[in-house]
Symmetry: none
Subunit: 215 residues, 4 copies
DNA sequence: CATGAATGAGGATTCATTCAT
DNA sequence: GATGAATGAATCCTCATTCAT
């Protein structure tokens, strides 16, 4: 149907692009549904309707529902990691952390959703494959963080000894985890109280955040 | 066969005791199944089998599956609250916090399970009734904590100003929440690293823990 | 435990009386529940509670739920028959017929309930045993009626030829059946309209009802 | 594969037609099962098997079992009404009435089934929504009948005064109801006896049926 | 590619019936 | 006799998945 050679390659890649777009469409819909209803209560039919496609079509792009859950989890993990990698200062950290709490979980573009975080974490206690993937990513994130903390100040780091840096990185992760859980449980928490609590911990962990007067 | 009056009262209470025992049996089985599979994936049939009874019998003691979930959540919340109330010193706190992380979640007697914590929290983003109950308890816990932190040292407290006490209480809650999530995601975390991370935060939040050399 | 002979007979009969009383208690409760919910939707547990006894005990007096339904049907049929037998004049008939419509079906003492009539009739199209029993009784009732209609006026009858009497008896039965169905479907029907409709038919079937001025 | 526009409209209507066909298939199967076993004793599984489809599929066309019961009831009511509306003479009436009695209730095409009539009527004493719908239709039917009876003879009516027409309409309805109940209870009733009984009543209600010699 | 009708296993729940006490 | 806890089959309904079109 199409000429061989270059053309064919173009076709293939066009098909590939379309495939990726479809997958994204499905994942976005699935995200929305999972946040709203949870992994298990969200039905394929609902996801299909949300994605404005037929249920059958989803199975052309994902083997089954579990594969979608996996993909969602993977993307959440990647987002988390990329955010951590983007961090270069204590101010970044503080801002990013508060931002976690403020983001609207029902916003389909919010890619680091608290309900999803909880769902994923809970699921990891049951599904070994999910557990492994999560562990892999979380470890990477912690290493990345520790690396940053242990780099010299000249290199944009905080100059902690390696051992201490590892502990501090863990402390930061605990803080972020706690914020996500707290957000799900008490979404209306007083922000200024929260801000101060977070700052107390961050200050203890990586030192005072300079110039953080008014937001 | 039995004299009326006193004996009769004994009979009644025997029935009541049995009822409570059965409820406990069901709740223990449900806990086990929920931890293992999650609220929704755990079936009544499985719970019944775990409790070594017929599915129908469960419904003599609980109106429906949701009532079981509620009862489990309520008991988890009560446990959390009672633990907080029992706390009277920084050492208590440190010990309790580490203990959270160490407890075996598959132990049916471990009544403050990390998977359950996550499941509950996730569920609270969907079920308004669960959300309300959780919020109620969490608030109570935080008030209790803040109260302790703001009491004078003579009264066993830490003498924080009320406002600060509230922030520090929140910081502690964040820490505990973070530990639960972390436990689910990385159960094999290095304990001494964790211990130091926790201590860093606790120290920042409520001051140094005296005499906490080696465990 | 008891002396032989006369005494024993006394015991037995006392037991027998008790048995009959218990059966009556169960049947009364069952009636109440059947009227309210229908044969199938009424549960043994509800009947037991209504009868203020345990579910298990019912099975001492009736083999199973079906046996209760049978007994209820049989008693309804007997009531219908006895009412017909008691009829000795056109005035009786008119009064009895209107009374059918007025009686409160939720009154546990109303022993000729419209819902039950419908339930029974419907059931007879499925259960051959019930069908047979109903047919037997209905035929008896019609014969009784026809007999009355064909008796000479000296004997309190209406003097119809046998053949005609049979047809007229059937017409009366149709009227009564219709009233029961109508009552279930339109309980609030205008009584004076109904009264006139009934009288039109009765008059046609057995002649004018003398002296039926005001009720 | 197909041109857009007109073709598409054809596609849509094809789907709609199929949907209506499926609904009909389900309703026919349900009718059969309800007649045979009653609304409550007929299971969805049996209906599905009768309709030669899977249980799950039924739920694509009806929200739940109750919706099916409703649809059946509604169609029965409509049939009853349309029959009444079609009546234009005493001969029509007589014929229609006898026909009610003769139709085979197990014939899936018999759309005015006596068992269903009883089941519906019984159900109306419990379910308020069903009761309302039945009452609405029954009232409409009676008004239609009364209207016919009160029209002048020139207009095809019988010229009764309005008040009398209402009573006579009710009398006719009573007769029809009675016939349905009687049919369920004594399907083998002697037809000529029945015919005479019916004629006695009809004659009384709307006057002699001219020319109704032999059938 | 895409649809959405169809399947059927599985889940929560009810209830007639039994039986140890 | 009497209780009511216990059973488990049966019911309604959902939903992941498949497949003819």
């Amino acid at each position: 149907m199409s000429a061989p050679g270059v053309e064919n390659r173009g076709d293939l890649s066009k098909a590939e692009i379309r495939k990726q777009l479809q997958r994204k469409r499905i994942l976005a819909a699935a995200m929305y549904c999972f946040v709203k209803r949870g992994f298990h209560a969200a039905s394929m039919a609902t996801i299909a309707k949300t994605a404005k496609m037929s249920p059958g079509l989803i199975y052309r792009y994902f083997d089954n529902k579990n594969a979608i859950i996996f993909a969602i989890i993977a993307s959440q993990l990647e987002i988390a990691e990329s955010r951590v990698c983007a961090m270069r200062s204590a101010r970044d950290l503080n801002a990013a952390i508060i931002e976690y709490f403020m983001a609207d979980d029902n916003d389909p573009d919010n890619t680091a959703s608290a309900p999803l975080f909880l769902e994923m974490s809970a699921e990891s206690t049951r599904d070994p494959e999910i557990a492994r993937e999560i562990r892999r990513m979380d470890t990477a994130v912690r290493i990345e963080l520790a690396d940053w903390l242990s780099r010299s100040r000249d290199e944009g780091g905080l100059g902690f000894p390696v051992e201490v840096a590892r502990e501090r990185a863990l402390a930061l992760v605990l803080l972020v985890d706690g914020l996500k859980a707290r957000k799900a449980r008490e979404p209306g928490l007083d922000i200024s109280c929260l801000r101060n609590a977070v700052e107390t911990i961050i200050t203890a962990v990586i030192g005072p955040i300079e110039g953080d007067g008014v937001d």
